[in-house]
Amino acid sequence: MNLTNFDQDAGLRRLHMMERIRAFEETARRAAIDEELVLGAIHLSIGQEAVATGIIENLRRDDYILSTHRGHGHTLAKGADADAMMKELLGREGGCCGGKGGSMHIADFGVRMLGANGVVGANITIAAGAAHGIKLLGGDQIVVCFFGDGASNRGPFLEGVNWAGVFNLPILFVCEDNQYSASTLTSDMTSGNIADRARALGLRTTEADGNDVTSLAATAAEITARIRETGTPEFLMAKTYRISGHTYFDPATYRPEGEAERMQATTCPIARLRETLAEAGVSTDELDGLAQDARAEMDRALDAARDAPWPANETAFADVQDIGSPLKEAF
């Protein structure tokens, strides 16, 4: 790594954020496996933390993001509260969605994180629409839409990216290419390549190493500044790798023997940044301290969530609709 222009403070901030994401997910996985506290499927982004971290650090609080079923990292990076997120994973009162959404519908509108999504690809048109709304209202915010490589094979990919191009909207589409769609190698089910699809739709398209947080953050800084200035959509292909299984209980035996271990050893974004920081002279103690701090934060979040009550039964009927609400007429 060339350290000439390396910003050590930024590096430490990024490492801390990636450690927080990693710790949040490892804690949630533990809570699921050891204590059966996390009840539904959760999708971990272990190995992909640099994408959320490097891109979202360039956003303002009033910019929007939309995410996928694999959305913990994006949500934390946008500034959501880990306590409220952990409570949501446990389905408890005080969860960011009141225990109604769980991991796959995690959202924090306070930091303009407009939701993870249980339907692959569905967030793409919605994100284009959020950018459309900004434009109609004359705002200067931008939208970042995260989706997976597999999502590019759904119709809303074409419709949503085309929409952003047609209406010239301030949005960055980020394809987080971890190579897999559940147990399927995405390339086996994809004709041509995904970045070319975006180019064909007229979007300026950048391909980046999604596991090098330092360079990714710099690339994203340029792109987001350009989008804010021009209001024109762009596309970023971030190459990464999902070290964990598709869900926390997926042993991922469909991958070639040793692939995950090799990728973890060579491409893990946390390990890579630690190495750079060490070269820059940061002590191992300090680096370990960031990880410990993150783990302690998430342990506290889990403790708080474990102690939180279930949501009140009546809330099952609340926030469905005002007119014809099940609170008044469920039948």
């Binding site: 959404g101 629409g129 709304g133 419709e159 929409w163 609709q321």
Partner: protein
Amino acid sequence: MPVMSYADAAKLAVAEAMRDDPTVWCVGEDLGRGGVFKQYTGLVEEFGPQRISDAPISEAAIMGAAFGAAMAGTRPIVEMRFADFALCATDELVNQIAKARFMFGGQSRAPMVIRKPMGMWRSSAAQHSQSLESWYTHIPGLVVCCPATPQDNYSMMKAAIACDDPVVYLEHKNIWAHEGEVDPTKAVDFGKAALRRSGRDVTLVSWSQTANLCVEAADVLARQGIGAEVIDLRSLWPWDKAEVFDSVRKTGRLLVAHEAVSVAGFGAEVVATVAQNIPMKTLPKRLGSPRGLIAYAPNLEDQMRVTAPMIARAAQEMMENEPA
């Protein structure tokens, strides 16, 4: 009082709402030229192409993007062109729009009007004729309405635009040109039926164009000395149970008529709900399309049609077959 068509009544409501609230906008295919049924004619001249927005033939994106724009603070009116094409945007409506507020624990709203022109119209055949209103009544989170008159298409459109819930707004294609008086001061609440005819012998419950056919049938029945009360539900979720119950308590007879397929149509819901609550003099009846497909040739199309004479005949039979 001004007289105007069903299409123009909705257009007036849209224009007034857009003048009052700069966050209201319309999006759909061909809107810049007035829309396929001319229900937007002249609006682009007043409001410009950003607020009367054309769209690519991307129903999923029209619905999804409008939803995103709603979450970002606007109030979109979504034009689906034909109710049939709205099926291309089912995930966006059913899994996203209807559920977002709940799934996100009340953090979001989807104040949207989703216009879906429905129903049989001039040999449009199986993919341009459907009445799918009952599908949407089955989805918690949605308000569903089916106006039958110019007045209601004005007042309900106003209410739908003002509503913070997503409203599936089904206009009947066959009555775009129907004219009637429109009182712009008249407000309609969802869940409040319109009593279109009073009578003491039999209650006819309907909505959309078929409610108008029920009125025709009631006039025929009146000449035969049968008093048919016609209740136009106007909105199907919520629906006006109290009004229907009161009427059936009085008449003791219930006939529900609609254009949609009878099997699992909303008539089944109305009949079951009344039967669970109100004793009747005769067995209740529903009249809907056979569970067949709508054809192109007019005589074949008619095989699926519920007509005013059929409604009148069914009501007469209920009067005749009275158990002793």
